[in-house]
């Protein structure tokens, strides 16, 4: 590749924002859902524009369930594709590739997921493979060792890119011992200790139908698909005990400032996050905060990017986002700048944040942000993949069509008083509990830090 997409942080907004029925005339296509006797939740949505089908599944098997073995959930998810009862890994790869299909398995902080896309005509073949991957993985020991050694090298390589690892360090600092501080891919010492027996046991406990959802969106008939899925997934045995979500414990967000500096000898620039506790996905102000973040740090003309990029040329991009999880979340300002302009870039970031809190926002900016959020909304739910993800997100985060139906109304109802109230109401987005995370060539004089940290 030529230098591939240096994806910028700025456009992040929220984690994923969810659909509504009428935003700018956008209609969420009809869908149906049902539950198998073993508890598996299924969502089906027909889409006939292009002859493809997308599948998305979520399972209670993300990094929060790692316990002491950081990276266990991630390795387990990857190992699902190491072969199944009826397909060796080689055969599996060949079958999937031959028909141009994709099946990927992954673990995020909270859940494990499977996503797949394929030509509608191949549905019988691919759904059978998906069922095998989820229900009958083989966990070949030799393949596991290869995966593990690739991951170990990958973890070393990640350190070559500040952007690739800064978020992990930040989460550890913010969430402390809470499981939301868990690093998805683990670290070199934890991964080194994980065995194939560990992943077999993790799979046995966490890959169960009763807290899992699978959504299928695309070119098929609902009736036929329902029959097919019932036949494929009904034999999946439910777990006897409920899998407790360890993230439901209280998060002890740090009460004062914390600073973490990481020295990278050959760095030419500083990458930094400044952030604090954010909100959980079910926070009633979710939509309002999306609008507010849009104008603060979620788009090109946002306050942050305007000041750090457009007015001062300190960086190629500056932005902010809320990462929302089921029981908590973070808010971060992120940017990067040449080593020698580290100080002004930090100063400016804090200055802009202060400005938001001191001056609030004006009518015109609010209208603009509202228009922007609404205008950019429909393309988020255009493809079968996007729609399949939406449905499983609804399942995991426990929201439904009413949230979706009300999206545009909620955006519209945010007036200037309410917006400024919300800004004031979230003291955790103020300087009082900011953490700084810097990455630069030489550790700076303490002067710079003190200047920003006197609070």
């Amino acid at each position: 590749m030529k230098p591939i997409a240096l994806k910028l942080i700025i456009i992040g907004l929220f984690f994923l924002t969810f659909s509504n029925v009428t935003a700018q005339g956008y209609k969420l296509p009809e869908y149906s859902s049902f539950k198998l006797p073993n508890g598996l939740t299924v969502y089906l949505m027909e889409q006939h524009d292009v002859p493809v089908i997308s599948v998305s599944a979520v399972l209670p098997a993300g990094a929060i369930y790692d316990n002491e073995k950081a990276g266990l959930a991630f390795l387990t998810a990857k190992a699902l594709k190491h072969g199944t009862k009826n397909f060796s890994k080689l055969k599996l790869d060949e079958e999937i590739d031959f028909i141009g299909a994709s099946i990927s398995t992954d673990a995020s902080k909270e859940f494990a997921s499977l996503s797949s896309k394929f030509a509608a005509k191949d549905k019988d073949k691919v759904l059978t493979i998906i069922k095998e991957i989820m229900l009958d993985p083989f966990f070949d020991a030799e393949e596991f060792e290869k995966e593990k050694s690739r991951l170990l090298v990958g973890l070393e390589q990640q350190k070559e890119s500040p952007r690739a690892v800064i978020g992990n360090y930040f989460d550890k600092l913010l969430y402390g011992n809470h499981v939301y501080g868990n690093t998805i891919q683990g670290d070199i010492s934890s991964i080194g200790k994980i065995t194939v027996e560990d992943i077999k046991s993790f799979y046995k406990t966490n890959y169960k139908p009763n807290q899992t959802a699978i959504s299928i969106v695309g070119d098929f008939s609902t009736k036929e698909m329902k029959t097919k899925l019932t036949a494929l997934f009904s034999n999946w045995k439910k777990s006897k005990n409920k899998i407790e979500n360890p993230a439901l414990k209280n998060i002890a967000y740090p009460s004062g400032n914390k600073v973490l500096l990481i020295n990278k000898e050959d760095a030419k620039e500083t990458t930094f996050y400044i952030g604090s506790a954010g909100i959980s996905r079910n926070n009633p102000d979710f939509v309002a905060l999306e609008v507010i973040n849009t104008l603060f740090g979620g788009r090109f003309t946002s306050m942050l990017n305007d000041e750090l990029r457009v007015n001062t040329g300190l960086t190629y991009g500056a932005g902010s986002k809320f990462n929302t999880l089921k029981n908590g979340g973070s808010f971060v300002i992120s940017t990067f700048t040449a080593s020698k302009t580290t100080e002004p870039a930090i100063d400016k970031s804090l200055e802009v944040l202060n400005k938001l809190h001191t001056n609030g926002i004006d009518e015109k900016s609010l209208t603009s942000a509202k228009n922007y959020v609404k205008g950019q909304f429909p393309p988020r739910y255009e493809t079968t993949n996007q729609l399949a993800n939406l449905l499983t997100q609804m399942f995991w985060y426990n929201f439904d069509a009413t949230f979706i139906e009300n999206f545009e109304k909620n955006v519209d109802s945010l007036n200037i008083e309410k917006a400024n109230q919300i800004i004031a109401q979230y003291p955790n987005i103020s300087q009082k509990t900011i953490f700084n995370l810097y990455w630069w060539e030489k550790l700076p004089t303490s002067k710079i830090l003190l200047k920003n940290m006197v609070l």
Binding site: K2, Y26, V52, I99, V153, R299, T301, G313, K364, K374
Partner: protein, 436 residues
């Protein structure tokens, strides 16, 4: 690029979905600006992609990086919409935008609610007809692109390595330098360079525009005539007269950077997109690296465990360019062993060819790729524009299935033999200790 450093224009697909060649309507304004329009009411949004035929190949030493810098300057104010107002107006109307520059083209992309289309035309018309190049803004924007350059090098060893390999493979042709440019040139672009660039390349007759979404062709035409037709055409930009002389011996280059394990890049000179070998080379690229069952992945990553990552790139270009193979060495692997293992796979294809099953696999994958592209209005605009600009006709997009289907196993073997020769390749290694 303005906000995203994009370089990989990987546009390869075929097959046919519901979308047909007839669904693309075209017209050309009196000033030579060509429009391609797709009406698609699946979501209430639309987009506009403007492809200017100018990229870093149009530069020379002293002004390298200027095409990309100019792309940035296009957002910094014109007569009606002054500094900041392009973005502010677009976002106020619910629209978002971006842009990217490659060695060949500069592309501007606008995504907006369909109801805002007239504003978009007004904004584009304003900046194309009367961009203002304020020296003060030039200075602050210079800082932005320097940061863009630095963050690219900071976060990916591939940037440094591919720049070195391209500079070694191309000695005379302007593909020699990178899109972002030389740091010293970046610090020295002059006001008159920018003004001249604007006049020469930002002419309506040097631009192809694609509009897709919940809009009507008649309305697009009306707005184009109102906002863009009055802009005068300019003389044809100068032709690029340099062609790269044939390479007559292997070239090697080593680059130093702190890395966990060495990075490797092999590049072979290959022809431009319009060449008859394009489709066979494209299939060859997929045979080598697409999916876990591909030759390089299954042999080098899975079986022999010499590499942790392997991929190939064969993209679109106006002039003869490179077919590149990339790999990251596994722990304790000597990059020479990895390199030799890649040659073993290449020799296998040269000697024995690929199988019918492999060929069919790639054709199936191309169909899925096509479906993915036409699933969104953005995919439609991007692909239609790319075919029009690089293949010379957007209709080639719809002929692509047939063109891929014509390719035989012998064709793939022949292009491997023709281009994958020792004297045609450049090898780059990036590693920590270059004294070894």
């Amino acid at each position: 690029m303005k906000k995203i450093m994009f370089l990989l224009l990987l546009l390869t697909f075929s097959g046919q979905a519901q979308m047909k060649s007839d669904d693309v309507k075209t017209f050309t304004l009196k000033n030579g600006m060509k429009f391609l329009v797709v009406e698609d009411f699946s979501i209430p949004n639309a987009n506009m992609y403007l492809f200017y035929k100018v990229g870093s190949r149009n530069e020379y030493q002293g002004i390298t990086g200027l095409s990309h810098f100019f792309e940035h300057m296009m957002f910094n104010g014109a007569e009606k919409y002054g500094p900041k107002l392009f973005d502010q107006t677009m976002e106020f109307n619910g629209g978002a935008n971006n842009a990217y520059t490659t060695k060949d083209v500069t592309v501007y992309t606008n995504w907006f609610p369909a109801s805002a289309m007239e504003v978009i035309f007004d904004l584009e018309g304003d900046r194309i007809s009367s961009l203002s190049i304020d020296p003060k803004i030039v200075e602050s924007e210079r800082g932005v692109v320097l940061s863009e350059r630095s963050t690219g090098l900071e976060n990916s060893p591939w940037r440094q390595l591919s720049e070195a390999v391209e500079a070694t493979a191309f000695i005379e042709h302007p593909y020699h330098w990178s899109v972002i440019g030389y740091e010293d040139d970046m610090k020295n672009w002059k006001q008159q360079d920018l003004e001249r660039y604007f006049k020469m390349y930002y002419a309506p007759n040097n631009c192809v525009v694609v509009v897709s979404g919940a809009i009507k062709m008649a309305e697009v035409k009306r707005l184009a005539e109102k906002y863009l037709e009055p802009i005068p055409a300019q003389p044809e930009p100068p032709k690029i007269t340099i062609s790269e002389p044939p390479q007559t011996g292997e070239r090697r280059i080593t680059v130093q950077k702190e890395v966990a394990t060495p990075y490797l890049m092999l590049a072979y000179h290959t022809p431009e997109t319009k060449n008859e070998d394009y489709y066979a080379l494209n299939i060859l690229s997929a045979v080598l690296s697409r999916g876990q069952s591909s030759r390089l992945y299954s042999e080098l990553v899975n079986k022999k465990q010499l590499a942790t990552v392997v991929f190939t790139d064969f993209g679109e270009s106006f002039n003869p360019s490179l077919f590149s193979i990339y790999a990251v060495a596994n722990k304790e692997v000597n990059p020479v062993d990895l390199e030799n293992a890649i040659y073993v796979e290449i020799e296998k294809i040269k000697n024995e060819g690929i199988s019918e099953v492999e060929l069919q696999k790639i054709k199936n994958q191309k169909l899925m790729e096509f479906y993915n592209q036409v699933e969104t209005i953005n995919g439609k605009s991007n692909n239609i524009g790319t075919y029009e600009v690089f293949f010379g006709d957007y209709k080639k997009m719809f002929q692509a299935p047939a063109n891929y289907n014509k390719i035989t196993v012998a064709d793939v073997q022949n292009v491997a033999k023709k281009y994958f020769t020792k004297s045609n390749r450049t090898v780059g290694v990036l590693k920590t200790n270059t004294e070894d």
